[in-house]
Subunit: 432 residues, 2 copies
């Protein structure tokens, strides 16, 4: 007999049901995460529900049903972004909003994205139970293609809403199957023209708060269910090319080589130490390298690599980038290897403003919870909105820090606590 | 007006014609190298004449014509190896032989291979001029597919003659176009069955001497036209896999990583120093690596690499391999990264025996030339024969050490001197 996968059942097994209060239902959160988990469920009990796939659309439609049942008006824009809205006591003011995404990486987990959407919707469910009509309108967002699996991008929906997606570039992209962006849109019934209409002149949102899993181990180490994000790191990508001289591995003496790979190796080891020389929050990674000609018996003549360097403080991040570039040139000089560097991307970090952090501080105090301040190393849709309006993020504890993996897990207690924090924070925003 | 490429003309431009003596003609060597250069000539004035191509066969047929004109009997075996033979005064004894190959790497040069074939043939031409009939039979070899471009092998023809080519494996190989070994053979009218008949019970050769370009800078640095090879290094290939943990480049703190690439980098830098810790002749290279998942924003979870370690002394070579494997495990332990190693190939080095080195010493003394002893880091067909019979190699100076490149160059003086040395050495062998 095969043990069938039942996310809700497993979530409920160690749930402390006293967290189901103030209109928020852990049981409902579990059932909804469970239902979403079946859309794109894999043999490893993970989920493959990539952006712009019919599965992503099915997941959106399921949530849209729940939104309607909760009394929200629902619209989906040309980029596939979903907005559920309840009117407030005041109609003619900007909304308070929350939300996240329902797409996943291939063989991903069931919490990265869905938790933020379900928690945002749970606020409406709770108000319904409590008979509360908020002062201002409240909107729940499902952003399209946050993960960027298909076209190596990410946060595509929120970037389209805010108008920062480069459409001239976007239309030139092809997915792994060779389909163009336009052809992929067509698979979910969308057009380039319709897609372009998603960009808004004004967000119409006053404040935005996103719940997301931490995807790191800090909350687990601190033994805390949720934490306060104080900034979202901005990545900087630099391409560095080492050009030495390919040569026969047998005929070229060790003292007459210009090996591009050993030169690059010196840099890899420097990059590993570079962040700690500057501060404790930054990270630096080389994840992608191309070695040419990449033959077992040929000295590498050329190595092309991308450095991914991030911090919540732009000046620290830029200091590390500059240190790494200088080090690359220094290595090149000492090894007689040509070094060229070019910046491929530099996204500004998004600090969470004191007002928004203050709102969460207040909620944590009210709930008598210890405060842990976190940095988000990954990008999130909230970061995109953060360039235009005040945003905040609440992180929920990730078991073993695992994410983008079927083993991704956040206990139902932690999920439900994150919904309580979100509800109280949204309620604070309603008063401002 | 396009300057047309004329190898013979360029070779003759700085030729000292006093080297055309004792029946050897530098002019003929230049004309023959020039004619071969046109078969597969590239836009960069290099040559692309890969093993098992119709171009390789055309080059062989051109040389076969010259062999016949020189009075040799010519045969081509099922693997495409060509043997030209003149009978000696004694018919019933094993032959003295020389030769090399006419295939090239893609965009290779005009001397790697052809010089050894033309020099071997020049010995016969010279004897014809001098009216000499050698004491023993003399054979000139053109080996098939020395470079191994098509199927990542090499010395295919000589390995087939000596019976060490693993045919069970060979038939499973595919070239870059997906053609099987059998399908590729068919393009030059050969069959697997015919190919198999190339293996001989007995070589029928007493001694073998190969002329080849050095493909290194030692003779140039020593300002000498030719040198004596004292050994052919045997390569050892070891696959080493580092398995760490892939993770998000933004969310994984620097002190919580198991980065397979930085672990591998430590090894790359050790491998670069490893030979000099043991001796001055060995070399160690990592030319081929595979990084997974190889995404710009993902910490490398797995790195697979091949180490190519060579020396003319097996025990030194094996000492370095063992040091590298130990270092890999040490790095794995200190970084909490799983390390697995497996030997992929271990070819015995071929030392050139004292008797054969003695023959060349004698010739150099007779010609009043300084002796430079060289190690061949690359494999050669002579190495394959060397497992069964005494062999020697004569290296001719390579300009700037360049090879496998259109810029590969050996002056006509050096080419012609190598033919003189070969002729005198072959004549010594006739007396033994």
């Amino acid at each position: 007999m095969t043990q069938s996968f039942d996310l809700a059942y497993t979530l409920l097994a160690d749930y402390d049901s006293t967290w189901s209060r103030d209109g928020i239902s852990g049981e409902r959160i579990a059932q909804r995460l469970g239902k979403l988990s079946t859309i794109g469920l894999t043999a490893q009990n993970g989920v493959t529900r990539v952006g712009f796939s019919p599965l992503e659309q099915r997941a959106k439609e399921l949530v849209m049903e729940w939104m309607k049942e909760a009394g929200m008006t629902v619209m989906q824009d040309g980029a596939g972004n979903v907005v559920g809205r309840i009117e407030g006591q005041n109609h003619d003011v900007a909304a308070i909003a929350s939300g996240s995404h329902v797409d996943s990486v291939p063989e991903g987990g069931h919490f990265d994205g869905p938790l933020g959407v379900i928690a945002a919707l749970e606020v409406v469910e709770a108000w319904k139970v409590q008979g509360i009509t908020p002062v201002k309108p409240y909107e729940v967002y499902i952003f399209t293609d946050e993960e960027g699996t298909r076209f190596d991008g990410g946060m595509t929906g929120s970037r389209m809403i805010t108008g920062i997606l480069d459409m001239d570039n976007q239309v030139t992209l092809k997915d792994a199957n060779g389909l163009s962006f336009e052809e992929v849109l067509a698979t979910t019934g969308k057009t380039l023209e319709g897609f372009s209409t998603a960009t808004r002149d004004k967000l119409g949102i006053e404040r935005f708060i996103e719940v997301h899993i931490e995807q790191g181990k800090k909350l687990e180490k601190a033994n805390l269910p949720v934490g306060i994000v104080k900034g979202i790191a901005g990545p900087s990508w630099t391409e560095i090319i080492f050009e030495g001289k390919a040569g026969h591995a047998g005929n070229t003496p060790m003292d007459d080589r210009q090996d591009a790979l050993t030169a690059a190796s010196e840099l890899f080891l420097y990059i590993e130490k570079a962040p700690t020389l500057v501060n404790r929050t930054s990270v630096a990674t080389v994840g992608k390298i191309l070695v040419e000609p990449n033959g077992s018996n040929v000295i590498p003549g050329k190595v092309t690599l991308i450095t991914d360097i991030r911090d919540i403080e732009a000046h620290s991040r830029d200091q590390i980038v500059s240190n790494v570039v200088n080090k690359a040139h220094e290595i090149g000089k000492s090894r007689n290897v040509l070094v060229t560097t070019s910046e491929k991307m530099r996204t500004p970090p998004v600090p969470i403003g004191e007002e928004m952090t203050g709102i969460l501080n207040h909620v944590f105090d009210e709930m008598n919870m210890d405060k842990e301040y976190l940095v988000s190393g990954a990008g999130h849709d909230a970061m995109i909105f953060g360039a235009q309006i005040p945003v905040a993020m609440i992180f929920a504890r990730s078991k073993d820090g695992v994410s983008h993996n079927p083993a991704e897990w956040t206990s139902l207690n932690d999920c439900t606590i994150s919904a309580h924090v979100l509800k109280k924070a949204i309620e604070q925003c309603m008063k401002l």
